[in-house]
Amino acid sequence: MDYLLEALHVTKVFGTLKANDGVTLKVKPGEIHAFLGENGAGKSTLVKMIYGALQPTSGEFRWMGKAVTIPSPAAARKLGIGMVFQHFSLFEALTVAENIALAMPGAFDMKKLSGRIARVSRDYGLPLEPTAVVADLSVGERQRIEIVRCLLQEPKLLIMDEPTAVLTPQEADQLFITLARLASEGCAVIYISHRLEEVKRLCHNATILRHGKVVANVDPTRETAASLAKLMVGGDIHVVKSAREDQRGATRLKLDRLRLSADGPFAVELRNVSLDVKAGEVVAIAGVAGNGQSELFDAVSGERSLAQAAMLLIDGKPMGHDGVNARRNAGAAFVPEERLGHGAVPAFTLSQNVVLTRHSSDGALVKSGMVSSGGASGVSQRVIKDYDVRKGKPDPEARSLSGGNLQKFVVGRELDRRPGVLVINQPTWGVDAGASATIRQAIVDLARQGSAVLVISQDLDEIFEIADRIAVISRGQLSEAYPASDLTPEKIGLLMAGAHERKEMAHAARA
């Protein structure tokens, strides 16, 4: 059997961390090959080495049977390796055609290139306007640029790093059709994803990594999602128990025709957002990134003040003009999306970070302007114990924690207050399965004890796991909140796409 790409005993060491430890991997032409593993298992490190962005510490790569070194991404592209990054490598201020031109070798002929872009995007069902500026495009459209950029170089191997994490279910379906077609034409695909159902559906082969080592190579169509997850984690995953109760209390958080103007050329305007969250329930807001989620979070948390106080009510009290602290003192707690830099100060210790969000709502932490370090470290030790935050030193700096552990700490710090209202943006973004389960369970438990919880998330699996009601945000407008049992991922996908995208898709279909 001839392999297109072989990685033989590849090891990559960062300082004292072995990100890849003797990894061996073989990819055949025309095969869609999944890489599975938890965060930090070493998937991204491996593909970056294949793409020439990182160099292995030891081991070798073979391309079509011949030993090669891949010193740079340009060298990888020359071999016929293309990559679509998880965090897109696009230039927001430039046009679609300019972004693609930057990745093309040789002379610069915009007219010819625009023609080729139009042809490839038509052939593969990836509609794109070459003169559009990237900053104005949706995440799905941005991904199409990345894919078209790779396809123009006629790759033999295409690497995709979590491509569907940012797509609506319909956009993901379209992507699977494109990938299946590429594979049928003989192009191999390395496919990294956390979504096991889609790996089962799409991939011919799966390599599973755990702590930098290959633990299994399986045929995903013969596995179940649960058996794949077990291989990834190396044990069973705790399932969130959310005894659904119908006894809901009074409305604790109310958004009443909330409006907020866009604060920059790339921001979203919120238009008449209305929502009630009652005591005892978890309401989730689904939506594709960049549709107003961060603006909505800023408006609810008080980072941006509202035009009218009555647009936001906490326990019946109009608080639209109040700042973050006043809202915290009224019993609310907020966990922003970005844990490092927004949720916690990277260079501060955990106990100092406790003081930053709880100094005014927790009387024991600050006395007549003086910080009580004993009080702060008491709270931080309790959070660390209750939420199983794993760390090196007793009171480490926030930046020294891994993503999942810091997220447990940042969420735990707010839950520890037993807030009456909790607003949390992307509770388990970039967090591995074990830590995600802990956080989701804690969120559900808080609601069951009588708090109102609003979760903003792009992860539909998470939403269906914990939410009692679901609303969808699209281009700054929020749908009605439907009971979770009435919705399916497909229905949510239609709500996510919104009217604008449907028009665009119809247009593309005609062209």
């Binding site: 020439g52 592209r77 230039f91 201020a93 900053a135 920059g264």
Partner: protein, 307 residues
Amino acid sequence: MNDQLLSVILTIITASTPLLLAAIGELVVERSGVLNLGVEGMMAVGAVSGFGAALMTGNPYVGVFAALAAGAVLSLLFGFLTLTMVSNQVATGLALTLLGLGAAGLMGESFVGQPGIHLERLHIPGLSEVPLIGPILFGQDFLVYLSLIIVAAVSYVLFRTKAGLIIRAVGDSQQSAHALGYSVVGVRYLCVMFGGACSGLAGGYLSLAYTPQWVENMTAGRGWIALALVVFSSWLPWRIVAGAYLFGTITVMGFSLQAYGIGIPSQLLSALPYIVTILVLVVISGNRALMRANTPACLGQPFVPDR
């Protein structure tokens, strides 16, 4: 009357050209994502080097070349510190200004009071004698024409060629540019040196054409105005021409009004360009949408590729 008008216009052109040269260079530097606040220092060193070289050789064109080279060499020091050693760009730029001004004073000590070599003006028989238009269009020194050619070239390169696309890409997202395999640091070195050469040229213009002599601190804050002009232009080359000539006009207006004996304190007049700079910056910065759309997103950010 015509003579007076003509002399005012000619002074405006000579007052505007150094601003234009320094600002167009800095625009390229900032488009690549680097903020070099050392324009004033590079201008000072350019001025003294140009003056000295012209004096020693008796050839003003050697002086022009020396000014350009001196600015480029000084900017190379800035590039080494901020790009290779990844020092803070703001602090390094400020230090560069202080270093440049000090070094220029030291180098120029023996030149003070010496008569300089004047860069001659173009003379096309016939054309240059057409009233009013002739001297303005066909009677300038070559640096005036060169400054406009540089602007046209920068505009063409930035928006019509792949090299310019790469410069804008590096300034917009250094991570993405690196991921695509471009040498972020290499591109920035070239841009920083281009900016340094332009600043040096601007300084040389001061000591060879504007006032052919060497006086300490003769740059008189023009480097800072050039920096403000880049923001004023919202990083678009042709707007730099408009900005530079506007500021040149304001500077000359100060002198002219004094000459006409209009009762405005001279201090206020000489402060005018700076006051207008602040006002313009306030007005432009107030429009956040306008600012953000054109601002190179990586401006001033250090870049360390992960290995």
